[in-house]
């Protein structure tokens, strides 16, 4: 935990919340983000995700737009934004529903990743945004 990629990390590790109703996607993403030094947590259910956000803060959240209900993901972003306005929101989806994508951006999403996404790109973008936020805060 203390030494990541040869850099001494005195500051808090980056944290991310991953929300998707596909268990395999959640688990693979969790492992990958954990390998990259994040404190990663996952949820397959929107109400569980909201509960988790209430107990701790996350630097970033990666949320599927469609969760059991068509606009489930958008709903989660709106709820989390109320509780944790400083969290950075990223969305992913397998479907091209323009109206939902627009709605997600309006709700505060920074970037959309279309499934099947290039995981390197996802890691890079999220890392950059989190860095930016940290440097701003410090």
């Amino acid at each position: 935990m203390l030494v990541l990629g040869g850099i001494a990390m005195k500051e808090k590790p980056k944290s991310i919340l991953i929300v998707d109703d596909d268990v395999d996607i959640c688990n693979t993403l969790k492992d990958i983000f954990a390998d990259k030094g994040y404190h990663a947590e996952v949820s397959n259910d929107k109400s569980e995700a909201v509960k988790m956000a209430k107990t701790r803060t996350y630097d970033a959240a990666l949320i599927d737009i469609i969760l059991d209900k068509v606009d489930g993901g958008v709903h989660v972003i709106k709820e989390l934004k109320k509780i944790r306005p400083n969290t950075l929101f990223f969305v992913m989806t397998a479907y091209t529903r323009e109206d939902l994508i627009v709605e997600a951006f309006k709700s505060g999403a920074l970037k959309l990743f279309k499934k099947p996404f290039d995981i390197e790109e996802v890691l890079t973008v999220i890392a950059e945004e989190v860095e930016k936020k940290h440097s701003k805060n410090s």
């Binding site: 596909d22 395999d24 996607i25 688990n27 693979t28 993403l29 492992d31 990958i32 390998d35 469609i66 969760l67 059991d68 209900k69 068509v70 489930g72 992913m92 397998a94 479907y95 091209t96 279309k114 499934k115 099947p116 996404f117 995981i119 390197e120």
Partner: protein
């Protein structure tokens, strides 16, 4: 006039001799009764006066002058007396009592003499010696009472007679009036007929007259026409020659035109058929396009998992232990299977295979289907299957149909649980029953999931129709195709928030 009708005077019951004689007889009998009654009364009175005289003689014999009321008692036992006098031997009044003076109407009648008053005297004797006399003046019972009763009886008799007579006369009159009316109606009808005949004859005459005039005129015109026709005929002859040539020409033109039309129609028909083919093809392409779109979206999720897993396994500078590698390979395998199923379903729908039937037990097929899917822990599956049912079916296709139905039930129960519906609050239940029903096997799938609205139930077999966030929407379309190919039937009953019952009938 009907000769059978009797003359009015004969039929009528007049006040004949009997009508007068009967009341006369009444009167005579009545008078006789009154007279006899009077006489009888007088006799009785005489007797009672005699009795009183005896009683009074006892009073007098005693020389005991009784008080007046004793005499009054003796007197009061008499009826209809006006006064009661007892005189002694010298003719001096010993006691006199005025009683029962006729009053009211009787008084008036006695004044005018209608009520007779008679005096009865009787000697009061002591031994053989007359010591006094008793004199009682009686008035007779009011004759008026008798008369009143009699007159009433008489009046009633006459009224009854008159009433009966009137009814009889009325009946007779009615009969006569009816007969007369019928006769009049007949006569009227005959008259009407005669009048109509006359009118018709007159009209005919007028008509004949007119016709005669017309024929006359026609004859004149005909003769004129005949002359002109004669002239025309000679001209027409020439024209006919010309016209027949023209007709010949027109006929050939028509024939040519007909041939042209036939050719054109054939061409147009071919064009239309081509267009129709194109339309059918484009419709098919539209469905396929939609299917392809839906398919690609559905494939993206498992593909994403696979890509992530591969990335994880191939991350540089990372050593993975065997457990992690196995776990990730399992993920890849699972997701690849999901993808395979999606593609398989689409192919089933796009290019359905003919069933390859063979004999097998329906219960085995149900068990195989249940083994193929993962049943969540909160769902109880209750199977009641008649093991004796053997069928001639394609077990793979029927199993596929069962799997599709069960998958829908599981998803419906999951949705019901998420929405907190009453039906599934104590966990989901899927009941499967298979039993024989005539020449068919009846397989019923019942779940207590979220159910469907009427609109959804109607669209359930439409390809690419889905209410789920995920899924292509081919499940029930494939089921229907399979069941129909097995010459069976499918029936869906569903109520929103209650559950769904799917009934399959397959020939045994």
């Amino acid at each position: 006039m009907n000769p059978k009708t009797p003359p009015l005077s004969e039929n009528r019951r007049a006040f004949g001799p009997s009508a007068v004689l009967v009341p006369l007889l009444f009167i005579l009998v009545f008078i006789a009764f009154v007279v006899i009654n009077e006489k009888w009364e007088e006799r009785n009175r005489a007797k009672s006066v005699e009795e009183r005289a005896r009683v009074v003689s006892v009073f007098l014999w005693d020389f005991d002058y009784r008080p007046a009321d004793e005499y009054l008692r003796v007197a009061s036992e008499l009826e209809h007396y006006e006064n009661f006098i007892v005189v002694d031997a010298d003719g001096d009044v010993f006691i006199s009592m005025e009683c029962h003076k006729p009053h009211g109407l009787d008084g008036f009648l006695s004044k005018i003499g209608l009520i007779r008053v008679n005096e009865i005297c009787h000697a009061i004797e002591y031994g053989n010696k007359q010591i006094g006399e008793i004199r009682v003046r009686f008035y007779n019972r009011s004759i008026y009472l008798y008369l009143e009763f009699f007159v009433f009886l008489l009046l009633f008799y006459f009224a009854a007679m008159f009433f009966l007579d009137t009814i009889e006369a009325k009946k007779n009159l009615e009969v006569r009036v009816k007969e007369r009316t019928a006769g009049l109606v007949r006569l009227n009808a005959e008259l009407e007929n005669a009048r109509n005949e006359i009118a018709n004859k007159a009209q005919e005459m007028v008509f004949l007259n007119k016709e005669l005039e017309v024929s006359n005129r026609e004859l004149q015109t005909r003769s004129e026409e005949l002359e002109s026709i004669n002239e025309e005929l000679s001209m027409s002859n020439e024209e006919l020659g010309r016209t027949s040539k023209e007709l010949e020409k027109a006929k050939t033109e028509c024939e040519n035109w007909g041939k042209d039309m036939e050719v054109k129609v054939n061409e147009k028909t071919k064009d239309l058929m081509k267009i129709q083919e194109q339309l059918a093809r484009s419709e098919k392409l539209a469905v396929l396009g939609k299917l392809a779109g839906s398919l690609s979206h559905e494939l993206r999720n498992p593909l994403s998992s696979i890509k992530n897993a591969v990335y994880y396994l191939t991350m540089p500078n990372k050593e993975r232990d065997k457990k992690a590698i196995d776990e990730y390979l399992e993920i890849i395998k699972r997701q690849a299977e999901i993808m395979n199923k999606i593609i398989h379903d689409s192919l089933d729908f796009a290019r359905p295979k003919a069933p390859e039937p063979r004999r097998c037990g329906i219960c085995d097929t149900i068990r195989e289907a249940l083994a193929e899917i993962r049943i969540p822990e909160n769902i109880v599956v209750d199977v009641k299957c008649d093991e004796k049912i053997e069928m001639f079916i394609d077990p793979f296709q029927i199993r596929q149909a069962f799997v599709n139905i069960l998958t829908n039930s599981i998803q419906a129960i999951h949705s019901a649980c998420c929405a907190g519906m009453d039906g599934a609050k104590d966990g989901g239940v899927i009941e499967i029953t298979a039993q024989k029903d005539g020449d068919f096997a009846k397989i019923v799938f019942r779940d207590n999931g979220e159910g469907m609205t009427k609109e959804t139930t109607e669209k359930i077999y439409e390809p690419l129709f889905t209410t789920r966030v995920r899924g292509v929407g081919l499940g029930m379309a494939i089921v229907k195709g399979i069941i129909e190919k097995h010459k069976g039937s499918i029936d869906v009953e569903s109520e929103f928030s209650k559950g769904t019952v799917i009934t399959l009938r397959l020939p045994v």
